[in-house]
Symmetry: C2
Subunit: 311 residues, 2 copies
């Protein structure tokens, strides 16, 4: 069922391509237009049918669209908004999928004309892969899609966007942008920085060779390497734009790490045991809330080397 006549996707990577596949599956858009900075990406998007038409410029892609979704890295959104502002159709809805919300609102908001509805958003869904070929229609199913609407947002425009996102499979909730950035610093941004750091440490160590790290990468480190394989541009932008909350949580993290480090040094087994017991409960909560699989080791199937790449 068509919800928007023309949807423009700006930035044709993982999130945009997943939205495109899901829109096609549900017939949500009359037409899909798109733009990406890279000519190769634009060509792939056209070839695999993500979009009906691609444009060399973001301005061209948004012309006549009643929904515009900004799917570029957070740091690029201000410039994109400045470019498309004058070309947006009256009554159009503009949303984004950026992982940070306050910085996007500050960067994008001032460039948009009064006659469009700007409703910032963030799907809590993704993988470590990126680019136009990495998307899939089921990415958003049963995942949260947080909207951080500004004061005075038109209820009809909001309801229409909500309905659209729910048809993609998402559970939509509204949230204050400041709170969004703090919660995400805890559940996503700081864990990513920590994973990147640990993988970096392993990479730099001279006494343990690169081969050993790869060969014996056990549970724990393997999981970190998946997280630390995420798109560098996206994550650079996240940390630069959610600086305050990330530094705040990092400070807390270092404080607690020093406490555990001291317990190890002092041989205080009781303190370690108590700490490790309390963290178990959170995992149970997440599984009960349907936010992760209860299967051991995520149910992952590791293939012997000779079978990799063939499946």
């Amino acid at each position: 069922m068509t919800v928007y006549n023309r949807v423009a996707l700006i930035g044709l990577g993982l999130i945009a391509s997943s939205i495109a596949h899901a829109m096609r599956q549900h017939g949500l858009a009359g037409e899909i237009t798109g733009h990406d900075v890279l000519p190769e990406t634009r060509q792939v998007a056209l070839d695999i049918g993500l979009v009906d038409r691609v444009f060399d410029s973001a301005a061209g892609a948004v012309e006549g669209a009643d929904l515009v979704i900004l799917c570029a890295p957070v740091g690029a959104m201000g410039d994109i908004a400045a470019e498309i502002g004058p070309h947006l159709a009256p009554g159009a809805t503009v949303t984004d999928v950026g992982s940070v919300k306050q910085a996007v609102i500050e960067a994008v908001g001032p460039h948009l004309p009064a006659h469009v509805h700007f409703i910032p958003g963030h799907p809590l869904a993704g993988t470590e892969h990126s680019g136009p070929r990495s998307g899939f229609a089921t990415l958003f199913i049963n995942r949260w899609w947080l909207l951080t609407p500004l004061d005075g947002t038109d209820p009809a425009a909001l309801a229409r966007l909500r309905g659209f996102l729910e048809t993609l499979g998402a559970n939509v909730e509204e949230m204050d942008p400041h709170r969004h950035d703090l919660v995400l610093a805890v559940v996503s941004h700081t864990p990513h920085l920590i994973a990147y750091t640990m993988v970096g440490v392993a990479d730099h160590l001279r006494r343990v060779t690169h081969e050993e790290v790869i060969k014996y990468s056990a549970s724990g480190f393997r999981d970190f390497t998946r997280i630390a394989a995420s798109d560098p541009t996206m994550w650079r932008d996240v940390f630069l734009t959610n600086k305050e909350a990330t530094l705040d949580i990092l400070g807390r993290f270092t404080e607690e790490l020093f406490i555990l480090q001291r317990a190890i040094r002092m041989g205080d087994g009781d303190q370690l045991f108590d700490y490790f017991t309390r963290t178990r409960a959170i995992r149970r909560g997440i599984i009960e809330a349907g936010q992760d699989t209860a299967a051991p080791d995520f149910g992952r199937a590791v293939q012997p080397p000779e079978k990799q790449g063939k499946g």
Copy 2:
């Protein structure tokens, strides 16, 4: 094909039960005996057929066994060795599965009589679950099983144990125990401590509620909660017994974290981008080496809440 006539398992949790299932599947043991501190665990092990006979004491279980596998937490192994030492059959092989090797060698070695072969080992395989019901026969397939034999180990006893472990599906390698503890501090022990800490931080934060952390736990944090749901006793013992290497790697980790933290504070995007680009390569190496799945997000399937627990 029977490799040992009687195999005794001491400590009947995840690793022991996985060994038992795999031994049964391949007919590797004439008879399996077992002991665990908890009477309930002993009963379960008997009921579900992990062992043919259980004993109230470790000493009873090892009587007449030609292979003894210590599968208890690392911190318990010294006492177990002291108890079983006088009861071991001449020519028996004693091995262990502890995640730390130097401390186990120091704690166990002195208690074993000269007429047994002590060959310390460590399977790089596990899940976040524990207990006698959590094991499965395929746990060791295509995973490393590191042996850290002492000087003067009998080649025939070593070859026999190797063949046994290979039939369980493992890739067996020999390693120096000191090096083992350092490599594992990098690829497993320190990542676990970090994951525990991050989950602990989320748990303690007053400004972000418990409900929010669970509800919005995105990729990154979710992965950490799985790691931080591992057995507290096992991990307490790992940190207490691999203290030196863990503290060493933790020091490196904090150093690098401070550098990235400073880059965030200073807004140095290039430094962040370069760091995040280099860590990607390690992930590729791990997947090519067949040590993890290339499927996005580990290929995990998250079930909607209403389906959880039914499958």
